[in-house]
Subunit: 162 residues, 2 copies
């Protein structure tokens, strides 16, 4: 059970967007270049985020991606949901309703115990991810980076920002 690496890519990309002045954005090319990632593949993942309404896309010469709402209102779960989809990792196929010992009067209205346990566990996981916003991530990343690095980023942004 492994998560798509697209989640990591877009999470870092969105953290970068969150560090920008509000309303501004970057093209997918720049987002990929910032972490030395494959540009075309990054673009594909950003499309998924645009479809999910996490970011807004703007076509044309000065186009690119920007956050669709304030960074404090976007959680890591929003990104996971956009890339991976909302359906749970554990999918109950109700195999308890199959087999030689299933009697006709069996009552399956009560939820499957195993299904319920996995559902609760996954809910806890989502809750944690929902509690972390892009603003949290961006400020923490900025706080930890050296002045030299912040200056380098500022210079790099000069010619990329929209």
């Amino acid at each position: 059970m492994k998560m798509s690496e697209g989640v990591e890519w877009t999470a870092h990309a969105c953290a970068l967007l969150a560090a920008l002045p509000p309303g501004l954005g970057l093209p997918a090319n720049a987002l990929a270049e910032f972490h030395s990632l494959a540009p075309a593949y990054m673009a594909k993942h950003m499309q998924a985020l645009a479809r999910a309404g996490v970011v807004e896309s703007l076509r044309g010469a000065a186009g690119g991606y920007r956050l669709a709402r304030p960074s404090a209102d976007i959680s890591l779960w929003d990104i996971v949901e956009a890339i991976e989809g909302e359906e749970p990792a554990f999918r109950c196929s109700e195999i308890r309703q199959q087999g030689p010992c299933v009697t006709p009067n069996s009552d399956f209205r009560r939820p499957c115990e195993i299904h319920a346990a996995f559902g609760k566990a996954e809910m806890a996981w989502r809750t944690h991810l929902k509690s972390v916003s892009l603003a949290d991530v961006a400020t923490e990343v900025a706080r930890k980076s050296s002045p030299q690095k912040r200056a380098a980023i500022t210079v790099w942004l000069q010619e990329k920002i929209r």
Copy 2:
């Protein structure tokens, strides 16, 4: 991000084993038949559980699988770990250390913020799964099933049990 269906199969199979008198087991064939599942594929998954030490395998004419320890000491996480492996779903490849803005004096001893957030969320998920034992599941399943069904299971077990 989806979990192998083998987890569902083996979880139900282990719940059945947990309902048996202690020390007794069933062959993979019977475990598959009980839920109308593909016998060969069920056998493959049970092998993984045997390698992980969740169940013990006994070859030969009267062989089969039985729980390696009391059902109260086996959690759903043990099963997930056996089938899916122990590595986390979110794998941090440290892309923050790549790119044009990484200065030579950058300090990456502090953990990646995004990595940390996903790690904590996943830990909560595991904790939930570790808190549910096979004994819990088995007793709850038994409590909810009708007397007719329990009788049918008893009859079916007569000729399968080891």
